[in-house]
């Protein structure tokens, strides 16, 4: 099987290190991929509250490392993911703001292809997880990103706690937000984000994939479908017109 089944139109991923750092392992992988003409995604997740400091400083580093992905490392698209040093999430107010400002700044000045990744606090089969994911999708879509990648529910650290249903809400929220006025999206976000941030300290752990789906038929449970419907209703009440 050529390239172990990884096609030239599949993405090879190389991660930068925090902050504005690379190692030889990354450079060596890039040397091979650029020679082969592979599609290359370079990732960097700046840490809000880490070496950069505050919101604006982290956004500055975010722009710098995004540009480095293309100018230094021959990336074809950049995968962002500002992460909150205390919460370990990408869905906090601060990290949404950093990602949105960095994306909008680069989008306004280049044609570069920009992606962002999702690390909500709550686990699958909870309204909080779905609403966190939707909030980030609204923010990423409104700030001009081209690709949304996720979602690593339960902060991406608990075994088997991710499912396709979280990607469904990510996509449906993005589809509903696309083309809306940015001021309207900001108003919606101002309503949504505080509702889940208030629960960060006691976020629901959610369920495993095996509890969320029939593993043989790979169909979500009736319970999860009900949770999904509840989350969609809540998002519609916030002003996001999710269809169907």
């Amino acid at each position: 099987m050529t390239n172990a089944g990884h096609r030239i139109t599949d993405a090879h991923e190389c991660s930068q290190l925090n902050e504005l750092k690379m190692d030889m392992c990354g450079l060596n992988m890039l040397a091979g991929w650029t020679t082969e003409g592979d599609t290359i995604m370079v990732e960097q997740m700046p840490i809000f509250g880490g070496y950069c400091g505050g919101i604006e400083e982290t956004a500055i580093c975010d722009v710098a490392t995004t540009l480095a992905s293309f100018a230094l490392f021959s990336g074809n698209f950049h995968l962002d993911g500002p992460i909150h040093i205390r919460w370990g999430t990408t869905t906090s107010k601060e990290t949404l703001q950093i990602a949105a400002h960095a994306a909008a700044a680069i989008d306004a000045n280049t044609d570069l292809l920009l992606a962002n990744q999702y690390y909500p606090m709550a686990g699958p089969c909870t309204e909080m997880c779905l609403i966190e994911t939707a909030a980030q999708a609204i923010s990423d879509t409104g700030s001009g990103r081209e690709l949304l990648s996720g979602s690593a529910a339960a902060k991406g650290v608990v075994q088997d706690k991710t499912t396709g249903m979280e990607a469904r809400i990510m996509g449906e929220a993005a589809k509903a937000a696309a083309g809306m006025k940015v001021s309207d999206l900001n108003e919606i976000l101002a309503k949504i984000v505080p509702t889940y941030e208030a629960n960060y300290t006691n976020a629901p752990a959610g369920k495993t994939f095996q509890e969320c789906y029939d593993v043989l038929s790979v169909k979500p449970t009736a319970e999860y479908l009900q949770v999904y419907d509840n989350a969609v209703k809540a998002l519609r009440d916030f002003g996001l017109d999710i269809k169907h």
Binding site: G5, H6, T9, L17, L20, M22, D23, M24, L27, L30, A31, T39, Y51, G53, I55, E57, A59, I60, C61, V63, L67, A68, F70, A71, N76, F77, A100, H101, A102, A104, A105, D107, N109, D111, L112, L113, G142, S143, G144, E146, L147, L148, S149, T162, G164, A167, G171, K175, A178, G179, K181, V182, L185, N186, L189, A190, F209, Y213, V215, V218
Partner: protein, 201 residues
């Protein structure tokens, strides 16, 4: 001065080798925070309450600050402990060399990856998957299938095997490589099961 050409990965390595030696702790705790703060003040950046910026001046100032951060600070190689420099012209040459359109996947299942600009009515590409989260080898195919079968999903991103043939998929061991290869095979099986064998990964 105009750039000679966009930087290659080998150009970057050569500059790291010749770059100034800086202790990593100085880079992390002094160089990065001091330069970021200096540029925040120079460009008068204060985001306020909006999550998504609405004024063009803030966007342009942030872009200039980020570009200056890269050019003035340089970039650090952790293994060599050295800093390389890049000019603004070279950054722009690198941007110009980057494709502005990509195709992910193949056949009828491709996703067209084009610039959107602002809040375009065009939906972003939805790359569904666990994004590196740990997944049991027993359900890996089913987990990936749960994404591939979603109509709103245009492309996939893997989780990671926590074990391979019952052994822990530990970093820097042969099991890590075996697990990575198994992830690729399992993701292909998930795409086929979902009726979308061409989906990109």
């Amino acid at each position: 001065m105009a750039a000679t050409r966009p930087l290659t990965v080998c150009d970057v390595y050569d500059r790291f080798v010749k770059g100034k030696k800086v202790p990593e702790s100085e880079w992390d705790y002094t160089v990065i925070p001091q330069n970021a703060t200096k540029l925040k003040e120079k460009y008068k950046l204060k985001f306020g309450s909006e999550t998504i910026p609405e004024d063009k001046q803030t966007m342009n100032n942030l872009f200039c600050a980020g570009l200056e951060m890269l050019v003035e600070t340089g970039y650090y190689c952790q293994d060599l402990g050295r800093v390389m420099k890049v000019t603004e012209e070279e950054v722009w040459e690198g941007i110009k060399k980057t494709p502005t359109k990509l195709i992910l996947g193949e056949g009828r299942d491709i996703a067209r990856f084009y610039p959107r600009h602002g809040n375009s009515p065009v939906k972003p590409i939805i790359q569904g998957g666990p994004t590196g989260s740990p997944i049991s080898e027993e359900v890996f195919v089913q987990v990936m299938q749960s994404y591939a079968q979603e109509g709103i999903v245009d492309d996939l991103v893997n989780g990671v095997f926590t074990s391979i043939e019952g052994k822990k998929a530990k970093t820097n061991t042969p099991y890590e490589i075996r697990a990575t290869m198994a992830e690729l095979r399992a993701t292909k099986e998930a795409r086929v099961r979902a009726g979308r064998p061409g989906l990109g990964v």
